[in-house]
């Protein structure tokens, strides 16, 4: 299970670094690889703040690629891989903390596979919608764009607030 998370992290950092390697920016390649290594270290040896730093750095590197005219398809793909890596890293760390159900020895593996299926669906959908956003052009006026932007912000705020309150607690 952890191996899959490690593969995702390595792929994410190598992919981001690879974009810069093609352009001959070796400093950035090294920085991306270091960020990946930094991320991997707490994945192997327990929790820490390093995944946060690495994720933000690699996402920043991907965002900067837009200004360097790198292929947005690959950048989007690497962003999706980063999302997968971040999720799997978190999930495997959570899973490691808890025991197996003794009656069902394969429980963690079953949970992991169910998680992978859901994540695969999300990643696929996200990539497809991202690709659509990259290539489908809808002509709109400034006011329309502003309204859409506002809608996005308000929706996001609603979702975040919902997740923050999500669950709640009740005693029995």
């Amino acid at each position: 299970m952890r191996r899959v998370a490690v593969i995702a992290i390595v792929s994410g950092s190598l992919g981001m670094g690879g974009q810069y390697a093609v352009d001959g920016r070796w400093g950035m390649v090294l920085a991306c690889l270091l960020a990946g290594a930094l991320w991997l270290f707490p994945t192997q040896y327990g929790a820490g703040q390093r995944p946060t730093i690495s994720l933000l750095f690699l996402a920043g590197a991907g965002g900067a690629g837009v200004y360097l005219d790198y292929a947005p398809v690959w950048l989007l793909t690497h962003f999706v891989i980063l999302l997968i890596a971040w999720d799997l890293d978190h999930f495997t760390r959570v899973l490691q903390q808890f025991s197996k159900d003794h009656a069902r020895e394969k429980e963690p593996s079953a949970l992991f596979h169910a998680h992978l299926r859901r994540l695969g669906m999300v990643a696929g959908l996200g990539w497809c919608l991202g690709m659509a956003a990259l290539y489908v052009r809808v002509p709109t006026r400034f006011a329309g764009a502003l309204a859409l932007g506002l809608l996005v912000f308000l929706s996001l705020q609603g979702i975040v607030r919902f997740f923050d309150q999500g669950g709640g607690s009740n005693a029995e």
Binding site: A47, L55, L56, A59, G62, G63, V66, P72, L75, L76, F79, L83, W86, D87, H90, F91, V94, L95, Q97, F98, S99, K100, D101, H102, A103, R104, E107, P108, A110, L111, A114, H115, R118, L119, M121, V122, A123, L125, G126, L129, G130, M131, A133, L134, G149, V152, F153, L156, I159, V160, F162, F163, D164, G166, G167, G168, S169, N170, A171, E172
Partner: protein
Amino acid sequence: MNKLSNTFILLIYGLILVGLATLKGPLLAFAIPFVVYLTVGLFFEPEPVHLQAKRTLSTDRVNQDTPVTVHLKIKNEGSSIENLLIEDIVPAGLQIIEGNPKLMTSMKPGETVTLSYTLCGARGYYHLPGLRTTASDHLGLIRKYKDLALSSRFVVLPEAYKLPEVGIRPRRTRVFPGLIPARKGGPGVEFFGVREYHSGDPMRWINERASARHEHTLFVNEFEQERATDIGLILDCRIETNLFRGNTELLEHGTQAAATLAESFLNYGNQVGLLIYGGMRNWVHPGYGKIQRERILRALATVRLYDSYVSQELVNMPTRLFPARSQLVLISSLLFQDLPTLIALRAHGYPLLVISPDPIHFESKLLGSSQTVAQAVRIVRLERDFLLRLLRRTGARVFDWQVDQPFHQAAHYALTHGAAWRTSQGVVHA
């Protein structure tokens, strides 16, 4: 761990804001997978959790360092749960030595999961309050928390070792047979004296040598009767006598000594009571047998240090709780101001055995070995020796116990009848 971390939110807002500000559409597109990730969470929000749980403990009373196995059976009486985290709340003071009180699983309606783990802890009463459950979707974005009240209790008793004998000789004994020499002639084991033959005395008691010296008179041997007696155990729980540098405590040693002595005295058929002196009045009325042993051990399981102005000195000790002239056993490292109270106890006719864990030896090991420490130790050692000498002069028997050696081992040598005989004044060194 909060799945929806600030980093994640920052990343989405960052991509959108920078994309809008710099008019770079791809940045907005890059935010889409992250937004989809969040949105999917909305569609798979878990239903309210309905669980039924049953906890069984391997035992509800154990001795110190004996493991307790906890089995949990949880049944899902609601709808299907994609991810369920079950956490049995383990109180502080207990250690998990095997298994894990947390379980992450998925549950279909009507499905049952089991969870087992093994605990071990220091003496005390423990209460397992219940389960904390967290249900979420597979991505773990929305969580529903629920606390299930599921109360279980168990007690960890202090270890009571067996002592072969404790050499006490109180002046007053009860009429019941026991193992305490009663200072009275009659049937017994140890030779007590010679008296004139009375009708009904067994022929094997006749002392032929003494009888041969007197014509027409027969003499018989008398033996010392062995009876049960009343014993009051007093455990000193004052913070002044027990707490030392670095929050180290002598109390654990004292508790173990009290448990071992109670076990030993009760095994000999004596009537034993316990007074835990320190804060609130904690008193086990004198009694016999296994039930009394259980009462005393349970009382000792709850013992802790007390910091009370009222009980800073032994002068407020309620000695009337003990039968008059009963044997008192005080377990205390002693303070100088305790001496008048102990002298008063002796004056009131209570035979007194003082088990005194040596606080100087205990604390000096924590202080290291510098010249200053050595000098300080020497001074307080003189003071303590003086205190113990004064106490012995009152007729009290004092056992100066260095707690490096377990009590049952140290007492095996120092508190037997042989030791009592060796030390006519009751002066015993461990």
